[in-house]
Amino acid sequence: MELIRIHQLGVDQRLQDVSLSLHRGEVLGILGANGAGKSTMLHCLAGIEDYRGEIFLHDQRLDKIPERRRAQQIGFLPQSSQSAWALSVHDVISLGRLPWGDTNAEAVAQAAAATGVTDWLERPIDRLSGGQQARVWLARVLAGQPRVLLADEPVASLDLSQQQHVLQMLRDYARNDCGVMLSIHDLSLAARYCDRLCLLHEGRLLALGPVAEVLTHDNLQRAFGIDAHIDLESQPPIVMPR
């Protein structure tokens, strides 16, 4: 069952004729070199970038849905986050409830527990390490309880253990009848945690499908210009440039 359907999405020269869909319970990984259009696509879905083409959320055109209702359904975790003020961790997570206009204490507590930040709720966000902050930003999105979670490079600034923790959490979230679309540079992690992959190259869709169909020598050569060692059978899968 489709949560999101994208038809011939285009943004200037950055993204051209991209069509794909996100299913319930699925983690869809967006891959591509820098400038391939990963963030642009997520921005279109998050309602912060104008686009050509059509995006459907539950069979309803995204641009026809009131902004607030869209935000209740689609949560967005940007590539880098920063709080202008020294807000407490609890207040940052509560901001995730803005689309709903409430302060649902249960949702906030659940999000804090899921990301393991419950112990720091009263601490100012600027006193946490980068990795700790990344978990709080994710908790903020989870507090909004969106059906679709968009994450732009959610593990870029995390250590190895945190990377696994966050990706497993996103996977668990998706399994709960939701959908997760995330951009990621680490191909091994993408192979391990994503159900399907979408490979973008210079704003166009190069490959879309199950991991084994997308992470091929030819595709990686075209998209990244690398000769890759690919072993998807090992546990965990390994995809590395030689």
Partner: protein, 328 residues
């Protein structure tokens, strides 16, 4: 603590208002005078309270609230603790409008209210120019366009001063620009109130946006907040507030910058919770400063704007020092 801040400031506001009504060159019965004014009696107390101290107090409160609120709103919108109401260009626009009255003798029929009316027009023109130049309400564009219009109005103001017809006109203008709420009547308050109410409503209607903007405009927009429309409303509201307050009371420095800065820790740094306390504290601060002005020994009056700057600058230096220690 955060819950108590607004009630505590309200109590302080009432006390400040009563003090402001009580302080002056003659000793009067404040409550009796107020009652007499409301019931239309004519006694000395009634005249002193109703025609001198009440307008002065209310204007000081209104101007202070306008500066505090607009400062808090702009700092929240631009996500910059150094943003201040003058950034919109409306402040210099109002000063230029008022200066034109002294220079060209505009609106003679309006009498003492003429500089304020011209100031309002000047603030409005500067605001329209700034918003047209900025194109969007992106924070850096507002700062750049505001700076450009402020510079333009400053240059025009300097030209007016340069060619002032006589030294007295120039002196009058300079004193007016220094900021004061003395010798203002209720007609000034009626002039100030509509833009003040409109500006406050515009800003307060965007509380959710200010809250979401803590995490940047991308996050705010992804949470369904209309950044383009909302930030335009905040800039418009702030410019209305500051333009009208400068038009009526001249330039009163540091209130819009310092008040939000001082109160921020007391509201857990939440920009949307800062608005009302900043308005109340701004009102208290300007009114108290005006009481101080009146308590100084007789002679040449120390202008209110000069006093707020004299008090504000050391406070600001202290804040910079505190901030520096935090980062070291």
């Amino acid at each position: 603590m955060a819950r108590l801040i607004t009630p505590a400031l309200l109590v302080l506001l009432v006390l400040t208002t009563l003090a402001s009504l009580a302080v002056g060159s003659t000793s009067v019965d404040v409550l009796g005078g107020l009652y007499g004014f409301v019931t239309g009696q004519t006694s000395l107390d009634t005249i002193v309270i109703g025609e001198v101290r009440l307008p002065r107090t209310l204007i000081a409160l209104a101007v202070g609230a306008a500066l505090g609120l607009s400062g808090a709103a702009l700092q929240g919108l631009l996500r910059n603790p150094l943003a201040e109401p003058g950034l919109t260009g409306a402040s210099q626009g109002a000063a230029l409008g008022a200066a034109s009255v002294f220079y060209f003798g505009l609106f003679p029929a309006l009498g003492a209210a003429a500089p304020s009316v011209a100031g309002l027009i000047g603030a409005g023109v500067a605001l329209v120019l700034m918003l047209a130049l900025a194109g969007s309400a992106r924070s850096h564009m507002v700062i750049m366009a505001g700076l450009a219009i402020t510079t333009l109005c400053g240059a025009a103001l300097a030209t007016v001063l340069n060619f002032a017809p006589n030294p007295y006109a120039m002196q009058e203008l300079v004193f007016w620009l220094l900021g004061s709420v003395s010798e203002r009547g209720l007609e000034h308050l009626w002039l100030l109130l509509p833009p003040l109410l409109a500006g406050s409503l515009l800003i307060i209607s965007q509380r959710r946006l200010l809250s979401g903007l803590s995490l940047g405009d991308q996050v705010a927009r992804s949470m369904g907040l209309n950044y383009r429309h909302g930030s335009f409303m905040i800039v418009l509201g702030a410019a209305l507030l500051v333009g009208s307050s400068v038009a009526v009371a001249g330039s009163i420095g540091f209130v819009g910058l310092l008040v939000p800065h001082l109160l921020r820790p007391l509201v857990q740094n939440r920009p949307e919770r800062l608005l009302i306390p900043a308005a109340l504290a701004g009102a208290i601060l300007v009114c108290l400063a005006d009481v101080c002005v009146r308590m100084l020994p007789p002679g040449r009056e120390l202008k209110l704007g000069v006093l707020t700057s004299l008090l504000g600058a050391p406070l600001f230096i202290w804040l910079v020092w505190k901030e520096r220690k935090r980062w070291n």
